[in-house]
């Protein structure tokens, strides 16, 4: 029998899980407010996937186009999300983003500048005005490094290369969690009054993804097991431009900044096919000739935006359509061309890491040649269901923020809204957790039985004589999600996928990692598989339930948006018998003012903002 009194125990008021932008920002907030805070991450500090965010952080600073305003950012976000966003979250996001960006500058971030010396902003898909504060195409690195350097002096403890296995509850509230040091393979118990999940998404469930090994849906899996709800899991974003060649880098992200800087998409007949793919909702605000698109790129403020800058769901589906019709590039993508649109110097200065990435990984010079790109699983709009103002889940003491939480982006996220999301809601989660801890005076007691169960489940994977190879099981899972729960879905494919997943669940019961417990990636992979299976099943079942096409969720058998489905979110919770429970839950209703703003035409909006400002 395992004796937990010998286990290493670490106690804090708050534990933050995950050290991407959201996690570090949340930890800074908790620590600034005087809470004893611990930050636990699977990798080394500063390596989280936030570094891969390239294009920028969206915030209505109005530095490049003074017409910008939080209301326009809010309207863009709602339209991009097909009005399925959590209205309150979208409002908070648009309102707070500018302050969060200015705060980063005060903490040492060095964004690219305008001629007046202000933070420069670039165009991006779905954003009405140039809105993305950026540093070349390495904005994520700038943000994570700034937060990291701020964080190490803030006074919270950082626990690196520690994988979190599961949460512990006492009397229905969070009281801690069990972690495993990846280096030694030994276990550690964290005692805390509250836990903030900032674990990112679950892209690793798919074969073609822009995500790294860490994105295994750990937050979804742990929250689900602890009795929290998942929301909007069917909305998985396929970024339209991932690399498609060579095979070893298939899925690696090509920033939307390429299109923001003027890049165009063409098929193998040389046609700019995005002009044929403008959805009705965006017709009035999108250029319909190459001539107008060119004027826009040259800076004409009256010209409308090129169709390449439509939202990601639209562009991804258009590329897929071209490939299906036999008009794709040699390796099954579309051509992305910046070489004919901008000078070599501009390309290298504005897109240095894209230049470098293609040069090294594909032996291709983007200043003279066209890239081949195709959709890649990039982001989860859905996630753990949280209260819009406090970020607390339905489990007392459990919070979630960043990609791990669902709601703000609705059915489709705009590029640049992720970095702002993680800053805004990282801070709010810190505030929410602070308030909760203030009101929660009772000391936390740990239930040793839960700890023992968690540890035994983990060690069984090593101790079995024989069993399934975790790497191969992961590969099978990726095949299922890629083929059956991909960018275009049908009832029969989804049913087939769910059946295959149940077969994989059975295999998972006998998964076996070879070797000892010290730094054993096979074991870590096996431990993450449970979370990936929960995540995959949640996506597949939610996608089957939602009988419409909206944003990133495309059902060929239900091709259009259905007003009836706008009224409901699909919410997932673990049933008492261990099966996955799904229900339709009424969608958050907006206040009248928010509804009015979101539905204004752009002309009405612009004149309203002008009026407002002239009164000041």
């Amino acid at each position: 029998m395992l004796d937990i009194s010998n286990l290493q125990t670490i106690e804090h008021d708050i534990i933050v899980v995950g050290a991407g932008g959201a996690g570090i920002r949340a930890a800074i907030e908790c620590s600034m407010r005087g809470l004893s805070t611990g930050l636990v991450c699977k990798s080394l500090l500063g390596k989280a996937h936030t570094v891969m965010a390239e294009g920028g952080v969206a915030a209505a600073l109005g530095n490049v186009d003074s017409r910008d305003h939080w209301k326009v950012h809010f309207r863009d976000t709602m339209r991009g999300g097909k009005f399925f966003n959590n209205w309150r979250m979208a409002e908070l996001h648009a309102k707070h983003a500018p302050d969060r960006v200015r705060e980063l500058e005060e903490w040492g971030a060095v964004f690219d500048r305008t001629d007046q010396g202000l933070i420069s902003q670039r165009n991006f898909g779905g954003h009405r005005y140039p809105r993305l504060a950026h540093v070349g195409d390495r904005t994520g690195l700038e943000i994570i490094r700034t937060l990291q350097d701020k964080g190490v002096h803030q006074g919270f403890e950082i626990y690196m290369e520690c994988a979190c296995l599961d949460l512990i509850k006492s009397d229905g509230r969070i009281s801690g969690m069990v972690g495993m040091w990846r280096e030694s393979g030994s276990f550690v118990v964290f005692k805390a009054k509250a836990i903030i999940l900032a674990t990112g998404g679950g892209g690793k469930c798919w074969k073609i993804t822009s995500n790294s090994w860490e994105y295994t849906g750990d937050g979804y899996g742990m929250a689900y097991e602890a009795g929290a709800e998942l929301i909007d899991m069917e909305f998985t974003q396929f970024h339209p431009t991932g690399m498609v060649w060579p095979p070893s880098v298939r899925g690696t992200l090509v920033t939307e900044g390429v299109r923001g800087e003027g890049g165009i998409l063409i098929n193998n007949e040389g046609r700019r096919f995005m002009f044929e793919n403008i959805p009705e909702r965006f017709v009035a605000e999108t250029a319909d000739t190459q001539e107008e698109a060119a004027r826009w790129l040259a800076g004409d403020r009256d010209a409308r935006r090129p169709p390449e800058l439509l939202t990601r769901d639209v562009v991804a589906r258009a590329i897929r359509k071209e490939v299906k019709a036999g008009r794709g590039s040699p390796h099954g993508g579309a051509f992305l061309d910046i070489a004919t649109q901008r000078s070599s110097q501009d390309i290298v200065r504005k897109l240095p890491s894209m230049y470098h990435q293609f040069k090294v990984l594909a032996e291709l010079d983007i200043t003279t040649e066209t890239m081949e790109v195709g959709p890649t699983l990039h982001y989860f709009m859905g996630g753990v269901r949280v209260d819009a103002d406090t970020q607390m889940t339905r489990v007392a003491g459990l919070f979630a923020c960043g990609e791990c939480a669902g709601g703000v982006h609705g059915a489709n996220r705009l590029g640049g809204n992720s970095l702002s999301d993680l800053l805004v809601f990282g801070k709010l989660a810190g505030e929410g957790a602070f308030e909760y801890v203030q009101s929660e005076k009772k000391p936390t007691a740990l239930d040793s039985e839960q700890v023992i169960t968690i540890i035994k489940t983990a060690t069984n994977i090593l101790n079995r004589e024989t069993g399934e190879n975790p790497y191969l099981l992961h590969e099978s899972l990726q095949e299922v999600m890629q083929s059956d729960v991909g960018i275009v879905r049908t009832e029969s494919l989804l049913n087939q996928g769910i059946n295959k997943l149940s077969g994989l669940w059975n295999k998972y019961k006998t998964v076996k990692a070879a070797g000892a417990s010290q730094f054993n990636p096979g074991w870590h992979e096996a431990l993450a598989l449970r979370n990936m299976l929960i995540t995959s099943e949640a996506v597949a079942r939610a996608a089957l339930m939602r009988e419409e096409s909206r944003g990133a969720h495309t059902r060929v058998d239900f091709p259009d948006e259905q007003d009836e489905w706008l009224k409901y979110n699909v919410v997932i919770k673990k049933n008492k018998d261990g099966t996955m429970g799904l229900k339709k839950s009424p969608h958050s209703q907006p206040g009248l003012e928010l509804k009015r703003i979101a539905n204004l035409t752009i002309e009405e909006m612009e004149s309203e903002i002008k009026m407002e400002r002239s009164k000041l």
Partner: protein, 248 residues
Amino acid sequence: MFRGDKTSGEMVNYKIDIDKGMVVLDVIHKIQAEQAGDLAVRWNCKAGKCGSCSVEINGKPKLSCMTRMNEYSDDETIYVRPIKTFPTIKDLVTDVSWNYDQNKKITPFSPHLKNKDKNGNYRMMQEDVDRVQEFRKCIECYLCQNVCHVLRDHDRKDRFIGPRFLIRLASLDMHPLDSVDRVPSVKDSFGSGMCNITRCCTDVCPEHIQLTDNGIIPLKERVVDRYYDPIKLLFRKLFRRNKPLRGA
């Protein structure tokens, strides 16, 4: 491939079929999946942006995700070892925690608040931040720390902070908004004098940052100006114009 831990280890031979376009990290992953499930390696982004997968390939410090297999000939044996300057934990994974300790010693950025306008904005011109941005491209792969002979051969981790953190100091020193004087710490705590400009760090930087010429040399000049320039010393003695020293 090196297999072993801090106490012992050996080079183990793996034979594997490779596909077009593979990088060394792909090969490591394939070996992991097919032949050695417990092979330890660090990696994250697989696109040269996070700096996790630093190893020594045929003796050269490199990011394994950005090293293509076709750089080597078909019949060549490729040797992959952990970076040498930091203690091995297991296989290709090393203990780089010393670097995190060094970063913590640097006095954080602290802007002059008076430079903030009424809308909460600071102004900096692009040409004044180009150099700072060059240093901020650093992905903390620690390849420069690994090849720096002060750290690698002389093991003076007790006195020298290494090229990575000298350029971090330089980026703070050149930041138009910063208010802290770090020159005394550059000289005394961080050992800028120990670097004798062999430029090995610049050679291995995967981000092509000009560490030596643009960062370390100007920083050393600042120290020389402050402490070893006799005319300036006299000038300061007479007029006491030097600003009070803040921070470490």
